[in-house]
Symmetry: C2
Subunit: 355 residues, 2 copies
């Protein structure tokens, strides 16, 4: 393992970014000057940024640095798709403590690069510095779109259909699973320590968490995918959503944003909310309400969008997209129609990092 | 004081960004959607990002949140000027611990806004989240420039003149001063505690650090200014630098970057390096070599640039800009000509956050 202080900031940046090849004609200058330089003569420029803090957004006891790099990139890419855009450039800022080696950082960058390669994005700059405490990651992503293709949150109209891609709640259940296995591990370590059982402690270094049959949940938590494929399909089918955003804080929270900004209400049917089999089984096992998990879990990075009711037939043909309800007049509020027909007011209990 | 958890993430963002008025025609959509939207049909787009970590880049025992916001914005604005551009948009990501109140964040934002107002910049987005440990700030700034006006680091040529704006080393001496007074304070507290002198401890809550006659040093450390005025003057005088960057890590380090990227050497004259009187006095008092402070101190945020020798007369008329040397052929290396005429090889001992 190579000590980062041996390379210094510029040496490390050089090592991490040396192999980067510029792929987009809009990128004129990448890493290596005071600024990156881009050119967007015929497009609108989209910009999004996200900050991930160790202990708050990720726990290095269960996510490795390569997956972390991949996920950090994907959550930003997802925001560009959520506006109907195409991601093009990215800057990456990292603050790291002394416990990381050059090889660790290479793993992080390989994850980043994998996500960027998937969507043809150039890493054009960033900042690499130290942290006395936890790791901090800040990524900014730039994308492009034709003016008429940009989808804001404020265009939903009464009678519009509400659609969501993929399924919901799995990333959240994946997190519960990881937390549970971590807890089991530490409990066993504690017990072995209490009994001063050195043999048991030794064996615990080979502790294998029980993830059999739950691979999908882990994948959703550790390796989320931005749904650029859905954007491509919408374009192919000539469907222009009236409002769109990605599901990062939870379906309830995102519905609230769209309804608030569009000045409307909504009616969502519990039975239509897409939930994977593994999510349902895991929720049952943990004695949790699976609909609550799907509504408020977050980190799904699926696309939530509304389309005019006239697009019903086209939307039905969309791959991996479900109709979950419809937009209503504002005075009807946000309603969830339960399986038994009862109606409840939807409350956004989405993840609040400041609570 | 208002607890941040009362407002939650969206409430806090609303409170901090509600008063923002968009000032630039290139900003189509600011805060409030998945992305900001911008339009740059006739310009090149510049992008820079910086991350500031508590304990590494700033110490809240001696910088208040308003100054911190101002400084965090200015160091990014400085990078846009360093390419010859005009700053236009900014995103601001913040991770904060529970010890901060809503009013604290408003102070931080008022500092940010002051810097942005000074240079007519729109705050168009960001991310606000929590930190279990220290505060983390990540800012990304977008600027614009005509293609022919962009100044890279790689255009310096043999015989070019090397210029620097303002003076160097003052921000570093300001930091030394703040560190010294902090040390004095804690020493007195320790002594009072040892003696169990409650009266002395009480009086120490009114501890007044001794900054008389050192105001300039403090200002340079706590309230740096990006030199957009120098860029404006260069344009007015029709001077196009061949290479430019801002002095953030120290003059030596930046000279090294320009020479490396331009494939040249340089000769810099110690006697020409601009140093303020207060910087010199403070260095003397602290038994430090003032030239070393000016070469390696960093955080000056002055502009370092090279111009063709034919521009000598024009450069001499520039306000607050000094000629400090000239570019040479690569084989001559980076040389510092001392006051006594001896020559030394310049070594970049600039601040290394990863050392």
């Amino acid at each position: 393992m190579t000590d980062i202080s041996k390379l210094g900031e510029f040496g490390l940046i050089h090592r991490l970014t040396d192999g980067i090849k510029i792929k987009n004609s809009s990128t004129l200058k990448g890493v290596g000057d005071d600024c990156a330089v881009m050119h967007y003569p015929d497009k609108e420029v989209l910009m999004t940024t996200d900050m991930l803090m160790e202990g708050v957004h990720f726990d290095l006891t269960y996510i490795d640095l390569q997956h972390l790099g991949y996920k950090a990139a994907m959550v930003n890419i997802s925001d560009i798709f959520a506006m109907g855009g195409t991601p093009r450039q990215m800057t990456v800022s990292l603050a790291i403590s002394k416990r990381f080696s050059v090889e660790d950082m290479e793993m992080f960058y390989s994850g980043l690069q994998m996500a960027c390669d998937k969507w043809n994005i150039d890493i054009v700059g960033g900042d690499t510095t130290s942290s006395y405490t936890g790791m901090a990651i800040s990524i900014t992503c730039i994308g492009e779109a034709d003016k008429e293709d940009i989808i804001y949150r404020n265009g939903a109209k009464d009678t519009d259909l509400i659609c969501v891609s993929g399924d919901l709640g799995a990333a959240y259940m994946g997190l519960q699973l990881l937390e549970r296995e971590k807890h089991v591990y530490y409990q066993q370590v504690e017990e072995a320590k209490k009994k001063n059982d050195k043999n048991a402690l030794k064996m615990l270094t080979d502790f294998q968490p029980d993830f059999a049959g739950r691979e999908y949940l882990l994948q959703r938590q550790l390796k989320p995918e931005a749904r650029g494929d859905v954007i491509e399909n919408l374009r192919k089918m000539n469907i222009k959503p009236t409002a769109m955003m990605d599901v990062s804080d939870g379906l309830s929270s995102e519905l609230m944003h769209i309804c608030e900004q569009s000045g409307c209400g909504c009616r969502v049917y519990e039975k239509n909310i897409p939930i994977d089999y593994q999510t349902a089984v895991m929720a049952e096992e943990m004695n949790m309400n699976v609909t609550t998990c799907a509504l408020n879990g977050g980190e799904d990075y699926e696309l939530l969008f509304t389309v005019p009711i006239g697009d019903l037939d086209k939307v039905r043909q969309l791959d991996d997209v479900k109709l979950i309800g419809n937009i209503t007049k504002k005075e009807y509020g946000l309603q969830l129609v339960a399986r038994d027909g009862n109606e409840f007011e939807l409350k956004a209990q989405g993840w609040n990092p400041l609570a």
